[in-house]
């Protein structure tokens, strides 16, 4: 399943690239293709034509010249046509979209801009369309909900400021993500327009209502006619000042052949306004100024609320941008200077004071402190970090100061990686969104024609003109597909946002939607369900001192990066002994190490490794080992001269909340498996301790992936939780792969979901998030379809006035927005309260 979605993704991408590359002109006459979809495929070549005529002439001519269509361009005829100028050669004033692709040597640069003033998804389509058509810009991708455009551009053809200018001509303000205070201006502008419109509209409404209800009955109609002038005077600024952003967007949309909600509103408002003026000129007092005013005001109000909501939903994504653009207090010699986070080189030394956030990833050189990592991992509990520890950018220093050295900067830094991840997830459209997009694209033209046809029909039916205008307006206004357009993406953004703030990075939003269907969850033991900090608990050897054993064993283990080896070496160093030198060290992944110390060959490894190396293991030693393993401990054998000399016994602690997790998973009806590279007995003991029925020990990393596949073949939907280090393959094979406790290594290609915190209880959050998201998306789609489906017939029948139509339209958008916001609010309540932190010591393990 996962493979197939990846494939789809790839296909989609190549499709996008292809459509970027394609020439948007007819293959015969060279005129732009527009929306024409006429294609002819011959031997893999796709030829595009602007009209059926061109297609047929092309076919006839290629037939005539006796060559295949794609060779047509090599014929004498084609040359003659180009020479005489009938077929454009692409060199004159043809819009040459392919010019940018001809210089692949010059690298395209990435550009990410923040856009203000996108009102509904159609704005995003418009921007994409315009950028796609401009020279020097490649693969523009607009994320409406994140107010963000990403693109590539060729610096020699276009500059970022030119791109920004182009967008501002369309009516969108752009800013770099690094600029501060970017929202203020746009918000202020909208608020002013809203205020002015609202005050004037209320006055217009007052006068109009008085007229409707016959307040001025006693006055002659000429006198009543005088009221029209103040109405006109008040309505004009509302329509042309308050409504300016709407009108402008509608106009620029039309220029590029994109219709949107703005088109509908503008049409409605202008129709009402112009009709009223015409009526005024004829001395009628049946005017629609009030409708025009209220539509503008409501539209502005709706947009204001929607903008606020969007901001709230994507707030935690914005947080990341802020984290990524902090200043660093560099420390060189005895001087301090501030530089931007981007200008820091790895290895640079910097200082963080108390109550400051760590600006870039670093390692502590001196000092130790309590750090609040909640903004990154979602854990509110402060953690203590000391010299030599890694610290993530964004951590808040509770007490200071700390001196750190920068480790990963620029695009490798944890914050940037998180941003990349979030952007990818935002960018990736799921199936439902693609369908909704397609529907909305056709929706507006369909609505327009419905309104026109309905208007004509009513006219023939002899309905008075006032009535026709009213009903057509109602249809236009009520059928805005906005709710449909934002139903899914808004929830997705909310989900990604909350996930982020809880330290859950979602790479694949669809995987999250799948998570609720999981019926088997495979948990990795070491590092996932247990602390992964193995402590050398006991050295059992006949007739040898611990000192003798360790000096030999540590010698070969020095070279290994395995956590048991590291613990052994640490222990040896701790007891202050001198570790001997080893030669010809050879490591066998997941099994053991051997090497030559002094003159004898030393081997350290598990039981299987001993058998493999044909080492004699005394029966009593084996019994002792089995005993320890049954208690949940990990045992390593060591041997020299082909004789097993004894065992090292390691203990690991089960993580806090691990047991609780298993219980809750079982309550949800999810089967739990524990897998480990450890001995069968050790795994069994841990499984029993955690209350897990199914387990499997002695599984090599590669076998974990096979195991997942076996489960899948049995018809299960399988999730896998691992630390992401040595179980990447298994994570990739699972339907949902979760990397737990990623810490600083965020870019885990294999996992769909990365949990930064190491707490097992977070896994339940993934399930909760999945449940919540899927439910909300379904509800939203229902809302959106319901409103549009019901409202159009009602409006046609004349039951809804234009005013109610506007209200209903925003009603549908708001129910969708409100529903999505509900998810965001969960953030504060926390999806699940954190478990009590009682540590569950594994039997025999725990104390050093």
């Amino acid at each position: 399943m996962r493979e197939s979605t990846q494939l789809d993704r790839k296909e989609k991408q190549t499709y996008r690239e292809r459509s970027d590359l394609q020439q948007h002109v007819c293959d015969l006459c060279g005129l732009p293709l527009g929306r024409s979809r006429i294609e002819e495929t011959t031997e893999g070549h796709v030829l595009r034509f602007c009209c059926p005529g061109c297609r047929h002439v092309f076919l006839l001519l290629s037939e005539e010249s006796g060559s295949l269509p794609q060779n047509f361009k090599e014929t004498e005829l084609y040359r003659a046509c180009v020479e005489s100028g009938i077929i454009p050669n692409g060199r004159d004033d043809a819009p040459a979209p392919s010019a940018t692709r001809e210089e692949p040597d010059i690298p395209a640069l990435e550009l990410t801009l923040r856009v203000e003033g996108m009102w509904c998804p159609a704005c995003g389509w418009l921007i994409e369309e315009v950028l796609r058509k401009s020279t020097g810009v490649l693969q523009p991708r607009v994320s409406f909900l994140a107010d963000m455009i990403q693109m590539k551009y060729f610096p020699h053809m276009v500059s970022p400021s030119e791109i920004a200018n182009k967008l501002s001509r369309l009516g969108y303000r752009t800013s770099s993500f690094l600029e501060a205070g970017r929202d203020a201006a746009g918000k202020h502008d909208l608020l002013t327009r809203l205020g002015v419109s609202a005050i004037l509209s209320v006055n217009v409404m007052m006068v109009s209502c008085a007229l409707y209800f016959g307040f001025f009955e006693t006055l002659s109609s000429t006198v009543i006619g005088y009221f029209s002038y103040p109405l006109l005077a008040m309505a004009t600024p509302v329509v042309f000042y308050g409504g300016l952003p709407i009108l402008r967007r509608a106009a620029s949309g039309l220029r590029y052949g994109v219709t949107s909600m703005d088109t509908l509103i503008s049409l409605g408002v202008l129709a009402a306004y112009i009709y009223s003026i015409l009526q005024m000129a004829r001395g009628s007092i049946h005017l629609y100024f009030d409708t025009a005013c209220m539509v503008v005001t409501l539209a502005l109000l709706g947009k204001y609320i929607e903008t606020q909501a969007r901001r709230k939903v994507s707030a935690s994504i914005d947080e990341l941008h802020e984290l990524a653009s902090r200043k660093v207090r560099l420390h060189s010699g005895d001087r301090e200077r501030w530089v931007s986070a981007d200008a820091v080189n790895p290895g640079a030394c910097f200082i963080v004071q108390a109550e400051e956030r760590v600006p870039v990833d670093g390692r502590i050189i001196s000092g130790s402190a309590w750090l609040d990592e909640s903004i990154i991992t979602g854990e509110s509990r402060p953690v203590q970090r000391g010299s030599g520890d890694e610290v993530l950018a964004g951590s808040l220093l509770r007490e200071g100061p700390l001196v750190l050295t920068a480790t990963r900067v620029g695009s490798e830094s944890s914050v940037r990686q998180m941003l990349t991840l979030v952007r990818e997830a935002l960018d990736r459209k799921n199936r439902v969104e693609l369908i909704a997009d397609r529907i909305t694209g056709y929706f507006v033209p369909a609505v327009l024609s419905t309104a026109v046809i309905a208007g004509l029909a009513l006219w023939f039916a002899g309905v008075p003109k006032d009535e026709i205008l009213g009903r057509s307006l109602a249809v236009l206004l009520i059928s805005c597909p906005c709710a449909l357009g934002i139903a899914t993406p808004l929830v997705k953004v909310a989900m990604i946002g909350i996930g982020r703030s809880k330290g859950i990075l979602i790479r694949d939003a669809e995987a999250i939607e799948r998570a609720r269907d999981l019926d088997v969850l495979v948990l990795d033991k070491t590092g996932t369900m247990t602390e992964g900090n193995f402590v050398l608990h006991e050295v059992i050897a006949k007739g040898l001192s611990e000192h003798e054993v360790l000096s030999c064993v540590a010698a070969v283990e020095q070279e290994s990066t395995h956590f048991l080896a590291r613990e052994t070496v640490r222990r040896a160093r701790e007891s202050g002994m001198e570790i001997r030198e080893a030669d010809q060290v050879e490591e066998f992944e997941g099994r053991g190490v051997k090497g030559v110390v002094g003159k004898s060959e030393v081997m350290v490894g598990n039981k299987g490794f001993m058998k493999e190396q044909k080492v004699r293991v005394p029966a009593d030693l084996e019994t002792t080992a089995a005993n320890r393993q049954r208690k949940g401990m990990t045992v390593l054998f060591f041997a020299w001269e082909r004789d097993a000399r004894g065992i090292l016994v390691f203990g690991d602690k089960a993580k806090a909340g691990a047991r609780e997790l298993v219980r809750k998973l079982r309550d949800r009806g999810v089967g739990v498996w524990l897998v480990s590279g450890d001995a069968e007995e050790t795994t069994a003991a841990t499984a029993t301790l955690l209350g897990i029925e199914h387990f499997r020990g002695q599984v090599l990393p590669a076998e974990k992936a096979n195991f997942i596949q076996t489960l899948k073949r049995e018809g299960h939907t399988v999730g896998m939780v691992g630390d992401g280090m040595n179980d990447a393959a298994a994570l990739a094979h699972a339907d949902v792969g979760v990397a737990l406790g990623a810490g600083s290594n965020i870019m885990r290609e294999a996992s769909d979901v990365t949990i930064l915190s190491a707490q097992p209880s977070r896994i339940l959050d993934v399930f909760d998030l999945s449940e919540l998201t899927t439910r909300t998306i379904r509800q939203n789609l229902m809302f959106a379809f319901l409103y549009n489906g019901m409202a159009i017939p009602l409006a046609l029948s004349g039951l809804l006035s234009p005013l109610i139509a506007v209200l209903a339209m925003f009603g549908s958008s708001f129910s969708v927005i409100g529903n999505a916001l509900r998810i965001s609010r969960r953030k504060k309540e926390s999806l699940l309260t954190d478990f009590a932190m009682e540590a569950l010591p594994a039997p025999g393990g725990g104390n050093r």
Binding site: C29, L31, G34, R35, S36, G85, I86, L456
Partner: protein, 232 residues
């Protein structure tokens, strides 16, 4: 008056579009005529007047097809109007015709994808596919007349729109004239294909196509209003 003037305008403006589409056809048979000039005496004036006759034959054939189609279409419309059984059908024809023309116009403007764009091709094997190469190859004037006749049947949105317009004409004669005028409008540019093509930039051609499309839409709208009046 407008009824006759409009097709001419559509033809004139539209022929900027035709230039791209039918132009290659004209060039194709002109090329076949050239070798004689190239082989023999340098640029014999004879060859030119020869090709003039060929061009004349081609366009005559094309116009005849157009006229024929127009007459046929209006005959269908006329028949519908005659029948007393379908009172009001005449106005329906007008309404449907108007709607169709608006659609064609929009398709010409490329604002909407043309439905049924995947009509069977005229490529290999079909009648047209077989006959065109023969007509191209022949150097007799008659063959160019036949080529023109065939060209008239090529699916072209402009001609379709005009055929629809002709269908609403009051009589077959009117229909014939409508289409003939449309065809005549396209002649000047196509006649001097080689010369005119180099004059017009792509932008001009696009503009011409758009003017034609807009005229078609306007004509369609006028038909719609007319049809509506019948109803009222």
């Amino acid at each position: 008056m407008f009824d006759l003037f409009a097709p001419l305008v559509v033809g004139l403006a539209g022929s900027l579009h035709c230039l791209g589409m039918c132009g290659p056809l004209v060039v194709a048979y002109s090329l076949q005529l050239q070798p004689a000039a190239a082989q023999g005496v340098p640029q014999a004036p004879r060859a030119r007047s020869g090709s003039f006759i060929h061009h004349l034959a081609f366009h005559a054939g094309r116009l005849l097809t157009y006229g024929f189609l127009g007459a046929l279409a209006s005959l269908v419309g006329y028949a519908a109007g005659l029948s007393q059984l379908f009172a009001g059908l005449r106005s329906s024809v007008t309404l449907v015709g108007g709607l169709l023309m608006v659609l064609f116009g929009l398709a010409l403007l490329k604002l909407i994808p043309l439905p049924l764009s995947s009509l069977p091709s005229l490529g290999k094997g079909s009648f047209f596919g077989r006959i065109f190469p023969l007509l191209f190859a022949s150097r007799r004037g008659v063959s160019k007349f036949a080529l023109g006749l065939a060209t008239g049947f090529l699916p072209c949105m402009l001609s379709w729109a005009m055929i629809v317009k002709a269908a609403t004409a009051p009589s077959p004669a009117h229909g014939f004239i409508t289409m003939l005028l449309f065809g005549l409008g396209t002649v000047p540019l196509l006649f001097s294909t080689g010369l005119s093509a180099s004059f017009f930039t792509l932008k001009t051609r696009l503009a011409g196509e758009r003017v034609a499309a807009c005229s078609v839409i306007v004509m369609g709208l006028i038909l719609l209003v007319k049809g509506a009046k019948y109803f009222a």
